[in-house]
Amino acid sequence: VAKIRAAIAALPAEQRTALGLAYRGDLTHTEIAARLGLPLGTVKSRLMLAMRKLSAAVQA
Protein backbone atom coordinates (compact mmCIF):
# COMPACT_ATOMS: atom_id res chain seq x y z
CA VAL A 1 0.00 0.00 0.00
CA ALA A 2 2.85 2.38 0.81
CA LYS A 3 4.43 1.58 -2.56
CA ILE A 4 1.16 2.33 -4.35
CA ARG A 5 0.72 5.57 -2.45
CA ALA A 6 4.21 6.74 -3.37
CA ALA A 7 3.84 5.62 -6.98
CA ILE A 8 0.54 7.46 -7.38
CA ALA A 9 2.08 10.59 -5.88
CA ALA A 10 4.92 10.30 -8.39
CA LEU A 11 2.62 10.12 -11.42
CA PRO A 12 2.33 13.13 -13.72
CA ALA A 13 -0.72 15.15 -12.67
CA GLU A 14 -2.68 14.36 -15.83
CA GLN A 15 -2.25 10.61 -15.30
CA ARG A 16 -3.16 10.88 -11.63
CA THR A 17 -6.30 12.85 -12.47
CA ALA A 18 -7.46 10.27 -15.00
CA LEU A 19 -6.66 7.44 -12.61
CA GLY A 20 -8.57 9.11 -9.79
CA LEU A 21 -11.66 9.39 -11.96
CA ALA A 22 -11.28 5.78 -13.11
CA TYR A 23 -10.89 4.58 -9.54
CA ARG A 24 -14.22 6.13 -8.53
CA GLY A 25 -15.71 3.16 -10.30
CA ASP A 26 -18.80 4.69 -11.83
CA LEU A 27 -17.37 6.09 -15.05
CA THR A 28 -16.39 4.40 -18.29
CA HIS A 29 -13.32 5.54 -20.20
CA THR A 30 -15.63 7.35 -22.62
CA GLU A 31 -17.23 9.24 -19.75
CA ILE A 32 -13.85 10.11 -18.27
CA ALA A 33 -12.74 11.46 -21.65
CA ALA A 34 -15.89 13.59 -21.84
CA ARG A 35 -15.36 14.81 -18.28
CA LEU A 36 -11.79 15.85 -19.01
CA GLY A 37 -12.56 17.17 -22.50
CA LEU A 38 -9.94 14.88 -24.00
CA PRO A 39 -9.93 12.34 -26.85
CA LEU A 40 -10.68 8.78 -25.73
CA GLY A 41 -7.29 7.58 -26.96
CA THR A 42 -5.52 10.10 -24.75
CA VAL A 43 -7.43 8.98 -21.68
CA LYS A 44 -6.81 5.32 -22.42
CA SER A 45 -3.09 5.84 -22.89
CA ARG A 46 -2.84 7.90 -19.70
CA LEU A 47 -4.62 5.18 -17.73
CA MET A 48 -2.52 2.42 -19.28
CA LEU A 49 0.73 4.29 -18.59
CA ALA A 50 -0.31 5.06 -15.03
CA MET A 51 -1.31 1.46 -14.32
CA ARG A 52 1.92 0.09 -15.78
CA LYS A 53 3.99 2.43 -13.62
CA LEU A 54 2.04 1.38 -10.51
CA SER A 55 2.34 -2.26 -11.43
CA ALA A 56 6.11 -1.90 -11.86
CA ALA A 57 6.35 -0.05 -8.55
CA VAL A 58 4.45 -2.79 -6.72
CA GLN A 59 6.64 -5.53 -8.18
CA ALA A 60 9.89 -3.67 -7.52
Binding site: R16, Y23, T28, H29, M51, S55
Partner: protein, 220 residues
Protein backbone atom coordinates in the same frame (compact mmCIF):
# COMPACT_ATOMS: atom_id res chain seq x y z
CA UNK B 1 -6.76 -19.20 -28.83
CA UNK B 2 -7.58 -15.66 -29.81
CA UNK B 3 -4.92 -12.95 -29.67
CA UNK B 4 -3.87 -11.61 -26.32
CA UNK B 5 -5.75 -8.52 -25.22
CA UNK B 6 -4.24 -5.08 -24.73
CA UNK B 7 -6.64 -3.31 -22.40
CA UNK B 8 -6.23 -5.38 -19.25
CA UNK B 9 -5.27 -2.34 -17.18
CA UNK B 10 -8.49 -0.63 -18.24
CA UNK B 11 -10.38 -3.86 -17.56
CA UNK B 12 -8.95 -3.97 -14.05
CA UNK B 13 -9.94 -0.36 -13.46
CA UNK B 14 -13.49 -1.20 -14.52
CA UNK B 15 -13.73 1.61 -17.07
CA UNK B 16 -14.37 -0.46 -20.20
CA UNK B 17 -17.72 -0.47 -21.92
CA UNK B 18 -19.75 -3.59 -21.31
CA UNK B 19 -19.12 -5.13 -24.71
CA UNK B 20 -15.36 -4.65 -24.30
CA UNK B 21 -15.48 -6.20 -20.86
CA UNK B 22 -17.46 -9.19 -22.08
CA UNK B 23 -14.87 -9.84 -24.79
CA UNK B 24 -12.04 -9.74 -22.28
CA UNK B 25 -13.96 -11.94 -19.83
CA UNK B 26 -14.26 -14.54 -22.59
CA UNK B 27 -10.60 -14.31 -23.46
CA UNK B 28 -9.45 -14.56 -19.83
CA UNK B 29 -11.43 -17.73 -19.39
CA UNK B 30 -9.15 -19.46 -21.88
CA UNK B 31 -5.84 -17.63 -21.51
CA UNK B 32 -3.70 -18.19 -18.43
CA UNK B 33 -1.16 -15.61 -19.52
CA UNK B 34 -3.66 -12.78 -19.80
CA UNK B 35 -5.42 -13.93 -16.62
CA UNK B 36 -2.16 -13.55 -14.81
CA UNK B 37 -1.64 -10.06 -16.23
CA UNK B 38 -5.22 -9.09 -15.34
CA UNK B 39 -4.71 -10.42 -11.84
CA UNK B 40 -1.58 -8.29 -11.43
CA UNK B 41 -3.43 -5.19 -12.63
CA UNK B 42 -6.36 -5.95 -10.34
CA UNK B 43 -4.06 -6.34 -7.36
CA UNK B 44 -2.79 -2.84 -8.10
CA UNK B 45 -6.35 -1.51 -8.19
CA UNK B 46 -7.21 -3.38 -5.00
CA UNK B 47 -4.30 -1.71 -3.21
CA UNK B 48 -5.49 1.79 -4.12
CA UNK B 49 -7.37 3.91 -1.61
CA UNK B 50 -9.50 6.99 -2.22
CA UNK B 51 -7.20 9.35 -0.33
CA UNK B 52 -4.31 8.56 -2.64
CA UNK B 53 -5.61 10.83 -5.38
CA UNK B 54 -5.37 14.50 -4.61
CA UNK B 55 -7.85 15.27 -7.32
CA UNK B 56 -11.22 16.57 -6.16
CA UNK B 57 -13.49 13.61 -6.70
CA UNK B 58 -16.59 12.53 -4.91
CA UNK B 59 -16.06 9.92 -2.17
CA UNK B 60 -15.02 6.76 -3.92
CA UNK B 61 -17.98 4.64 -2.96
CA UNK B 62 -17.98 1.75 -5.43
CA UNK B 63 -21.28 2.02 -7.25
CA UNK B 64 -21.57 -1.69 -7.79
CA UNK B 65 -21.19 -2.39 -4.08
CA UNK B 66 -22.67 0.37 -1.95
CA UNK B 67 -21.38 -0.77 1.40
CA UNK B 68 -23.47 1.13 3.90
CA UNK B 69 -21.75 -0.34 6.92
CA UNK B 70 -18.24 0.31 5.74
CA UNK B 71 -17.44 2.93 8.39
CA UNK B 72 -18.55 0.59 11.15
CA UNK B 73 -16.37 -2.27 10.15
CA UNK B 74 -13.42 0.01 9.75
CA UNK B 75 -12.20 -1.39 6.48
CA UNK B 76 -10.87 1.32 4.23
CA UNK B 77 -12.55 1.60 0.85
CA UNK B 78 -9.53 0.27 -0.95
CA UNK B 79 -11.26 -0.63 -4.15
CA UNK B 80 -13.83 -3.19 -4.96
CA UNK B 81 -11.85 -6.24 -3.91
CA UNK B 82 -11.67 -4.94 -0.38
CA UNK B 83 -15.30 -3.95 -0.62
CA UNK B 84 -16.22 -7.48 -1.57
CA UNK B 85 -14.28 -8.98 1.26
CA UNK B 86 -15.68 -6.36 3.63
CA UNK B 87 -19.16 -7.22 2.46
CA UNK B 88 -18.48 -10.81 3.33
CA UNK B 89 -17.31 -9.66 6.74
CA UNK B 90 -20.25 -7.37 7.36
CA UNK B 91 -22.56 -10.30 7.98
CA UNK B 92 -20.52 -11.39 10.94
CA UNK B 93 -20.46 -7.94 12.48
CA UNK B 94 -22.30 -8.83 15.64
CA UNK B 95 -19.52 -11.00 16.89
CA UNK B 96 -16.42 -9.62 15.25
CA UNK B 97 -15.17 -6.10 14.77
CA UNK B 98 -11.55 -6.15 15.74
CA UNK B 99 -9.35 -8.10 13.40
CA UNK B 100 -11.34 -7.32 10.29
CA UNK B 101 -8.18 -6.49 8.41
CA UNK B 102 -6.64 -9.78 9.43
CA UNK B 103 -9.75 -11.63 8.40
CA UNK B 104 -9.91 -9.83 5.10
CA UNK B 105 -6.32 -10.79 4.49
CA UNK B 106 -7.13 -14.37 5.47
CA UNK B 107 -9.95 -14.53 2.96
CA UNK B 108 -7.79 -13.11 0.20
CA UNK B 109 -4.69 -15.11 1.01
CA UNK B 110 -5.83 -18.52 2.12
CA UNK B 111 -8.68 -19.43 -0.15
CA UNK B 112 -7.29 -19.30 -3.64
CA UNK B 113 -10.53 -20.17 -5.36
CA UNK B 114 -12.45 -17.39 -3.70
CA UNK B 115 -9.65 -14.88 -3.96
CA UNK B 116 -9.11 -15.62 -7.63
CA UNK B 117 -12.80 -15.34 -8.31
CA UNK B 118 -13.14 -12.07 -6.47
CA UNK B 119 -10.13 -10.73 -8.29
CA UNK B 120 -11.18 -11.87 -11.73
CA UNK B 121 -14.88 -11.17 -11.84
CA UNK B 122 -17.10 -8.18 -11.56
CA UNK B 123 -19.76 -8.92 -9.06
CA UNK B 124 -23.06 -7.91 -7.47
CA UNK B 125 -24.48 -8.53 -4.04
CA UNK B 126 -27.81 -8.98 -2.32
CA UNK B 127 -29.16 -9.72 1.15
CA UNK B 128 -31.39 -12.68 1.87
CA UNK B 129 -34.95 -11.90 2.98
CA UNK B 130 -36.00 -13.77 6.11
CA UNK B 131 -38.82 -16.27 5.59
CA UNK B 132 -38.83 -17.69 9.11
CA UNK B 133 -38.31 -16.32 12.60
CA UNK B 134 -35.16 -18.34 13.00
CA UNK B 135 -33.66 -17.04 9.76
CA UNK B 136 -30.00 -16.04 10.17
CA UNK B 137 -28.69 -12.90 8.51
CA UNK B 138 -27.20 -13.87 5.16
CA UNK B 139 -25.81 -12.24 2.05
CA UNK B 140 -24.68 -13.37 -1.37
CA UNK B 141 -21.98 -11.97 -3.60
CA UNK B 142 -22.38 -13.15 -7.19
CA UNK B 143 -20.84 -12.73 -10.60
CA UNK B 144 -22.52 -10.47 -13.12
CA UNK B 145 -22.50 -13.38 -15.54
CA UNK B 146 -23.90 -15.79 -12.95
CA UNK B 147 -20.86 -18.04 -13.17
CA UNK B 148 -20.20 -18.11 -9.42
CA UNK B 149 -21.71 -17.08 -6.13
CA UNK B 150 -20.55 -16.76 -2.55
CA UNK B 151 -23.05 -17.04 0.29
CA UNK B 152 -22.13 -15.73 3.74
CA UNK B 153 -24.36 -16.58 6.71
CA UNK B 154 -24.02 -15.05 10.15
CA UNK B 155 -22.88 -17.54 12.74
CA UNK B 156 -21.03 -20.85 12.61
CA UNK B 157 -23.74 -23.15 11.24
CA UNK B 158 -23.52 -26.69 9.99
CA UNK B 159 -27.23 -27.37 9.48
CA UNK B 160 -27.94 -25.18 6.44
CA UNK B 161 -28.22 -25.78 2.73
CA UNK B 162 -28.41 -23.41 -0.19
CA UNK B 163 -30.78 -24.23 -3.06
CA UNK B 164 -30.63 -22.43 -6.36
CA UNK B 165 -33.27 -21.88 -9.02
CA UNK B 166 -32.05 -20.86 -12.47
CA UNK B 167 -32.83 -17.41 -13.90
CA UNK B 168 -34.86 -19.12 -16.60
CA UNK B 169 -37.02 -21.59 -14.64
CA UNK B 170 -37.93 -23.47 -17.80
CA UNK B 171 -34.34 -24.38 -18.45
CA UNK B 172 -33.63 -26.51 -15.38
CA UNK B 173 -34.93 -27.64 -12.03
CA UNK B 174 -33.69 -26.12 -8.76
CA UNK B 175 -30.43 -27.59 -7.52
CA UNK B 176 -28.86 -27.97 -4.10
CA UNK B 177 -25.58 -26.07 -4.09
CA UNK B 178 -24.43 -27.56 -0.81
CA UNK B 179 -23.94 -26.60 2.81
CA UNK B 180 -22.19 -23.43 3.99
CA UNK B 181 -19.09 -24.31 6.01
CA UNK B 182 -18.37 -22.62 9.34
CA UNK B 183 -15.46 -20.18 9.10
CA UNK B 184 -15.05 -18.36 12.38
CA UNK B 185 -18.03 -16.10 13.00
CA UNK B 186 -19.68 -16.88 9.68
CA UNK B 187 -20.59 -19.83 7.50
CA UNK B 188 -19.67 -19.57 3.86
CA UNK B 189 -20.41 -21.37 0.63
CA UNK B 190 -18.70 -20.80 -2.69
CA UNK B 191 -20.34 -22.41 -5.70
CA UNK B 192 -20.46 -22.45 -9.47
CA UNK B 193 -24.17 -22.92 -10.22
CA UNK B 194 -24.91 -25.00 -13.32
CA UNK B 195 -27.06 -22.20 -14.77
CA UNK B 196 -27.25 -18.48 -14.14
CA UNK B 197 -29.08 -18.36 -10.79
CA UNK B 198 -32.37 -16.48 -10.56
CA UNK B 199 -33.04 -17.03 -6.88
CA UNK B 200 -31.51 -18.72 -3.86
CA UNK B 201 -33.13 -20.26 -0.84
CA UNK B 202 -31.46 -20.91 2.48
CA UNK B 203 -32.79 -24.17 3.84
CA UNK B 204 -32.79 -25.40 7.42
CA UNK B 205 -32.00 -28.87 8.71
CA UNK B 206 -35.34 -30.35 7.65
CA UNK B 207 -35.49 -28.58 4.33
CA UNK B 208 -37.64 -25.66 5.48
CA UNK B 209 -37.03 -22.31 3.78
CA UNK B 210 -35.36 -19.93 6.23
CA UNK B 211 -34.57 -17.11 3.82
CA UNK B 212 -34.61 -16.34 0.13
CA UNK B 213 -33.14 -13.85 -2.29
CA UNK B 214 -33.81 -12.95 -5.92
CA UNK B 215 -30.69 -12.23 -7.96
CA UNK B 216 -30.91 -9.46 -10.51
CA UNK B 217 -28.49 -8.69 -13.32
CA UNK B 218 -28.71 -5.00 -14.20
CA UNK B 219 -26.97 -3.83 -17.35
CA UNK B 220 -24.02 -1.64 -16.56
Amino acid sequence: MSEHVEDLELYALGVLEQEERVKIDAHLASCAQCSQRAGQAERVVAAMQPGMFDVATAPAAPVVVPLKRRSKIGVAASGWLAAAAALALAVGLGTQRAGDHARLAAIVNTDDVIAQTLVHSHFLHAAFNPAAQSAPSAKVIYARDGSWLYVVVDGARSDLHVACSPANPKSAAPVDLGAPQARGATSELFAHPPQRPGSLRLLGASGEVLAYVTLTYPAR
